[in-house]
């Protein structure tokens, strides 16, 4: 098992290196840089701009820039945000946490709703419950996140039950611990539900078809023949085997989840990585873009890593195959 974990960890290194290289290449191809906008500013002399560009190696070819960036990155320094004038890591810390929190809570909501619904639909196959679930799944698959997020904002605005965007209220700093926690939850709930709704349908359908497949297996028939109650057969025998493939789905759904989070963050003003990336892109703050993209990728591959480990832990065959 430990060997497997170690192997998977080593797998991550070339991916992160590749992603940083690719993003760096893309950013070097981008027209202009952060200081282009300052060229028309009469208060800044051309001499000063040359100095500033030289300071951040912007006057050098991209592979030299990448070399400098990589050297610093290995020491935990992901570059310097020219727009915010702080180290990128400082900015990213809270944003990364916010995106993680949003995705994590959304995942929990998704699974807590999708798995029971999927089981219910499978057990009551072809009944109205099944049809209703299938209908909801289709609606959920087809409603774009952009639209759902806008509707959620409208809902929050019209009812006043939820804050319209943001991650915390302006008075957050004056609150005590418990109130701060409640304030955060209050702000988190709506974006998380929007994000959860989009991935819910896929997992529910998967759960249903998995369970239906296992219910057809011979050991289930054997268990029924033995005279076990239907509940015992479903929950004790079939369900445990049906859950397994969902772990693979969990790994696959992460990419969609993070892209969804990107949309939700930007529409519902949730200060996460996606919002920061967009801000950095429009400010041409390229070191910050590279840092956020690498971090988002890190979040994705870390999630995949966890999914792999869970899968290997639950299914010994995978461990042995590697």
């Amino acid at each position: 098992m430990w060997q497997f974990v170690l192997k998977r960890l080593l797998h991550l290194i070339p991916i992160l290196l590749g992603v940083s290289l690719l993003t760096f290449l893309l950013m070097s191809m981008t027209p202009g840089d952060y200081y282009t906008a300052l060229e028309n500013n009469p208060q800044i002399t051309p001499q000063k701009l040359i100095e500033l560009r030289a300071k951040w190696h912007l006057d050098q070819p991209w592979h030299v820039q990448y070399y400098h960036w990589l050297k610093n990155a290995l020491q935990g320094d992901l570059g310097y945000s020219m727009a915010y004038k702080v180290a990128a890591t400082e900015l990213i810390g809270s944003r990364l946490w916010n995106t993680f929190l949003l995705s994590f809570v959304a995942t929990i909501i998704t699974w807590a709703v999708a798995v029971p619904l999927g089981i219910w639909a499978a057990v009551k196959k072809d009944s109205w419950v099944d049809r209703l679930c299938a209908g909801i799944a289709f609606l959920g698959l087809s409603i774009p996140e952009v639209l759902l997020a806008l509707l959620a904002l409208l809902f929050a605005y019209a009812t006043g039950w939820f804050p319209v965007g943001g991650a915390q209220s302006p008075l957050h700093d004056t609150m005590n611990g418990w109130e701060q926690f409640r304030d955060r939850c209050h702000h988190l709930l709506l974006p998380a539900v929007v994000l959860a709704a989009s991935s819910l349908a896929g997992i529910m359908r998967q759960m249903r078809s998995n369970l239906l497949d296992t219910l057809r297996a011979e050991y289930v028939t054997a268990a029924r023949a033995k005279g076990l109650s239907e509940g015992w057969v479903v929950y004790k025998h079939a369900l445990r085997n049906a859950i397994n493939p969902l772990l693979t789905i969990f790994g696959y759904s992460l990419a969609g989840l993070l892209s969804g989070a990107f949309i939700v963050e930007n529409i519902m003003a949730w200060p996460g990585l996606g919002r920061l990336t967009l801000e950095a892109l429009s400010a041409k703050d390229y070191p910050l873009v590279v840092a956020t993209v690498v971090m988002a990728t890190g979040l994705l591959v870390a999630g995949n890593f966890v999914a792999d480990i869970l899968l290997a832990w639950s299914d010994p065959r995978i461990r042995l195959k590697e």
Binding site: P14, I15, G18, V19, L22, T23, L26, M27, M29, T30, P31, F138, L139, L141, S142, I143, P144, E145, V146, L147, L150, L151, L153, L154, A156, Y157, A158, V164, A255, G256, L258, S259, F262, I263, N266, I267, G274, T277, L278, L281, V289, T292, V293, A296, T297, L299, L300, V301, N304
Partner: protein, 364 residues
């Protein structure tokens, strides 16, 4: 009671149905898939004849009618009539239907000049009242007084075609690379697969927006359109290539491929003529189900105002107007493009789901 058909002397009756025939038979039984297909046919027809179906020019700003509510037609006697809406003095952009001032809806009326199918200049529109001061605004107007229905129709030309063009591009690319990679194997295969993994390990929208940033922000709509297609395809081909590669890996060991090789058929011909056709049923289903990805990709980029630029209409940039929650509450018809996206994606999902079930021979 009819006589039993004698099958022994009738070779026609015993001819087995081809896989395609079986496929069509199964598909025809799926009502939702067919409904989806017909909705799509309707939407594409409307997109094709957008300038004719739209009652007016999508870019004309009517200063008298900002945030005009949707016109509600009704039946009066034998006529389908529409009332004229007048702004009340009460507040900004509050309208009231004038029941006493109605005009019948007429078909094939003269209106704004346009070019049918981008070629034939004409002034005939599908419907209207024939009077400029008495417009039919099915979905109301936006903050500039532009007809949302007309804009949705023109926007559908972008959204509906972008999916097809994107699929054509990324799937042919993904199929060729995946097929070749799986068939040839070795170092080239490893290299291609690592590249796919790399592309797939960056969360989609982060990569898409970084790619978008490598081009100037302000471009003409045609250029942006092409750019969006290329970018979305660049991100989308990887997953396709991986699946096709897996199929090619197993197909290349099959006897018909070995036979072709023994006959000295060149590798590219084996890939194109023997391997790829065998992946086709998967590809068709996957293509239908991934059209929404391209539609939504354009929507997100245009919504974030790095896609199709105003005044050209696209479903994405129209939704930007709905960003303002206050406006959205007072003028909910601003969400109409969202409903259009929803209907389109739903239709594609229904069709794709039906195709998948019909292509799946095992479960029946």
């Amino acid at each position: 009671m009819s006589a039993p058909i004698d099958t022994t002397n009738n070779p026609e009756a015993r001819r087995p149905r081809t896989p395609w025939q079986l496929f069509w038979e199964r598909l025809r039984r799926r009502r939702f898939a067919l409904a989806g297909a017909w909705v799509l046919v309707g939407l594409y027809a409307m997109a094709l004849f957008a300038s004719f179906v739209a009652p007016g020019n999508p870019e004309r700003q009517d200063r008298e009618r900002f945030f005009h509510p949707p016109t509600v037609p009704r039946i009066q006697g034998w006529w389908l009539v529409v009332p004229r809406y007048e702004q009340t003095k009460g507040g900004p952009f509050v309208y009231k239907a004038r029941v006493d001032d109605v005009k019948p809806v007429r078909f094939f009326v003269r209106g704004d000049p346009h070019k049918l199918l981008w070629m034939i200049p004409t002034t005939v529109h599908l419907f209207g009242t024939g009077e400029a001061n008495h417009p039919i605004l099915l979905f109301g107007t936006d903050q500039f007084g532009r007809d949302i229905f007309a804009r949705i129709l023109y926007g559908s030309q972008v959204s509906l075609s972008i999916g097809l063009v994107g699929i054509a591009l990324s799937f042919s690319f993904g199929m060729l690379i995946g097929g070749a990679s799986g068939y040839v194997g070795g170092k080239a295969d490893t290299l291609v697969m690592r590249l796919c993994e790399l592309i797939m390990s960056i969360p989609g929208l982060y990569l898409i927006l970084s790619l978008r940033a490598t081009f100037p922000p302000k471009l003409s709509s045609t250029h942006v359109y092409l750019l969006i297609v290329v970018i979305l395809s660049f991100v989308g081909w990887a997953s396709m290539a991986r699946v096709i590669r897996g199929m090619a890996l197993s197909l290349r060991e099959r006897q018909f491929v070995l036979a072709a090789r023994a006959l000295g058929v060149p590798a590219w011909r084996i890939i194109v003529r023997h391997i790829l056709p065998n992946t086709l049923s998967y590809v068709i289903v996957a293509a239908t189900l991934s059209v929404p990805y391209y539609i939504l990709g354009e929507v997100v980029l245009s919504y974030l105002s790095v896609g199709i630029q105003e005044p050209d209409a696209s479903w994405g940039n129209m939704l930007t107007a709905a960003q303002n929650t206050e406006h959205l509450q007072s003028y909910p018809w601003l969400l109409a493009p969202g409903a259009a996206i929803f209907v389109t994606v739903l239709a594609f999902n229904f069709l794709g789901d039906g195709l998948r079930d019909a292509a799946d021979t095992k479960s029946n």
